[in-house]
Subunit: 454 residues, 2 copies
Amino acid sequence: MSLEDDVLARVKPTPQEAEAAQEAAARLVKRLAAAAKEKRIPGTPKLMGSVAKDTFLKGPEIDVFVTFPETTPREDLERWGLELGEVLDDPTRRYAEHPYTRGRFGPYEADVVPCYDLASPSDRMTAVDRTPFHLAYVRERLGEAQRDEVRLLKAFLKGVGCYGAEARVLGFSGYLCELLVLRYATFRATMEAASTWRPPVPLELDTPALRTFDEPLVFVDPVDGERNAASAVSLDTLATFIHAAREYLEAPRPDFFFPPAPPPWDEQRLREEMGRRGTELLAVVSTAPDLPEDVLFPQLRKAELAMRAFLEGEGFRVLRSQPALLEDAWILLVEMEVARLPAVRQHHGPPPWLKNATAFLRKWEDAPGRLAGPYVEGGRLQVDVAREAREAGEALERAMPDLSLGKNLDEAVREGFDLLRGEELVGRGYDDVVGRFLRRALPWKVSSSSSRGR
Amino acid sequence: MSLEDDVLARVKPTPQEAEAAQEAAARLVKRLAAAAKEKRIPGTPKLMGSVAKDTFLKGPEIDVFVTFPETTPREDLERWGLELGEVLDDPTRRYAEHPYTRGRFGPYEADVVPCYDLASPSDRMTAVDRTPFHLAYVRERLGEAQRDEVRLLKAFLKGVGCYGAEARVLGFSGYLCELLVLRYATFRATMEAASTWRPPVPLELDTPALRTFDEPLVFVDPVDGERNAASAVSLDTLATFIHAAREYLEAPRPDFFFPPAPPPWDEQRLREEMGRRGTELLAVVSTAPDLPEDVLFPQLRKAELAMRAFLEGEGFRVLRSQPALLEDAWILLVEMEVARLPAVRQHHGPPPWLKNATAFLRKWEDAPGRLAGPYVEGGRLQVDVAREAREAGEALERAMPDLSLGKNLDEAVREGFDLLRGEELVGRGYDDVVGRFLRRALPWKVSSSSSRGR
């Protein structure tokens, strides 16, 4: 049995499992139709997602869309959609761009999502109205055997950390996997193609692009030439996949699909690694608002960029940073390359020939914070002035409430946050996050001895 | 009496002084002519420079060029030129681009410079062959009264630290001062023009440019449209002059011409200032080869750039740097903004789709210096590796012998150099240089209380 057969045996639902999922999905659709009828809601539930396309892995999620006539007011669509979502167990309302309900249905995770029933995907009124067209497109074209090729590709992408279009991953969606298999026919052929990719990578099926895209990977959505079905894929995710494809083809190993999970570093090891790196580790920690990841994570990315821009703007240097979302807290980790600066900094003025040169001189000539100058350097007036915050942690702690992080994180910070440094981070429930941040390796290469250099 | 009359009274030679200088110059020319005749050297001495143009300040230098027929072999011209230079007292041979002799003649500094006697300046064979044409051009056009305007401009430029085309200053030559007065008629009008300049500044008289120039100040040489008579002027010198002109016109004060010379900082004050700035001060000190400034200073500039590039390339950050040439030593001062770095540094590899990606991985996968990775960031493979030198002084000390500083400085460093840090610099004969480096202010604004902030 080949490696890929072996992988498929591990990830593909058994006929019994597949049948059970299909039956559960059909039951949920029926339940929603009954509820709509009872509540006189003019919506029609339809099964979507990987269960509808038969490309699901073990333990699938069930996605049911409720379609409404185009004439339905947006407000009603949203209200009715959430009302129907109550048929799920443990329903929680989610408001990404578009409100929907996530809950459980028997042993499955399930989403109930309202959308419009459109004649053409280009008429779309909400972010999800194209989904029924995606389903139809894939169902019409993807052959029986190719569904397993999609499963292999999904399993591979999962293993190498590139599966999922959400902000935490910035990777490949299930639909994109299906498109890739439609484009290249098999998992192997997709890997071979990917191993030769060099961003920007432009791909399409039967629909040409109706505009230009600037993302590193472009797969023109066959149901809408205005859209890039790979727009979520970041350069780093794409580069990781390309690299993984090259290494896999050279030496296929189960590790790509099922990466090893080495034991987390204990507190002593964490302290050791911090010492060996000799960097200053900073973390902003605050309470996570009770909101879904797809609301919070984009804000965490925004916060990460705002923090980096602030620190670099003050003259510090960031080696790397990473957000993480825990059970009830979020954390932004920053490893500093330069965390301490001298008392003096050069304050740049205008060139002497600009109007505001005089104002600059008047302001600084006898200012109390001036340490030297004004003088001319680089064609501009300059003064040496006293730096306000010489230490990155101190500067960040002071600036956090003023950084623009995103609505919900701004609120969280206003209510309170901790700024932790180095060993203060150890043993407070973040050890695993910090360990993975410092360990940093390609997932299929992590071993328990990894990074035990010299 | 106006400020400018007053200045002129202080800088212009008295009629007696002027006559004495002219007489000495005539005597030197005669002496050289006699020597040439006696030694059968086919050269004709001619007075050049500010004495010939009557634009000199008190205590002028006497420049005599010895012109040779175009047919003279270069080797003979150089040899004969140096031979005739021996008529000076204390002659020293100087080899910039072109060998000449500097010495004394009575109370005057004097240069004896060989050159070719050409029909046109565009035939030039050595760097100095245009000088006789400059002399003729200025003498024909500069009126009696304008000579004092030139004197004022020279005195002003001297006062604000912008006079002299040599590498130490990168400023305005005497010839450029004369051209500016020919262009604008008076000192005042030159100042008014300068106060509106905004680099790049393109100027000319009756000769259009025969090529494009990329220097911040361009004054097309009227005797050769291929040459920029202001090519030595750096952006910072130009900006300083523009700034000084604006401030002078707003509030004329003698300080611009005769900047105050505050007492040098004593050792205690130096230590205090170093402490207040909180930076790491580094200095490379070595023996100055017995060569003229115009040979050594360009090498010092080159060395300064090489040092900065090295330090920044290693990840340190330079706040500022400055070379200085002392009696028998040269010194390169560097003030560090970041002088200490963590044990780890990120080592950038190629993007995974490049050929050398595999080599990079093989090299680093199990290398002893690896602290984390390989991983993907910014679309490239990366590893975290141990940094060799964490401290700027240590890194510089190790690298100095391998930096390309210029022929004579390379030799000096090979024979030995000191790397001094912070307080090690105090009380070793460099206090004045270090003090001016730290004090840093526009010359007309330095006061003894300057930089006593807060």
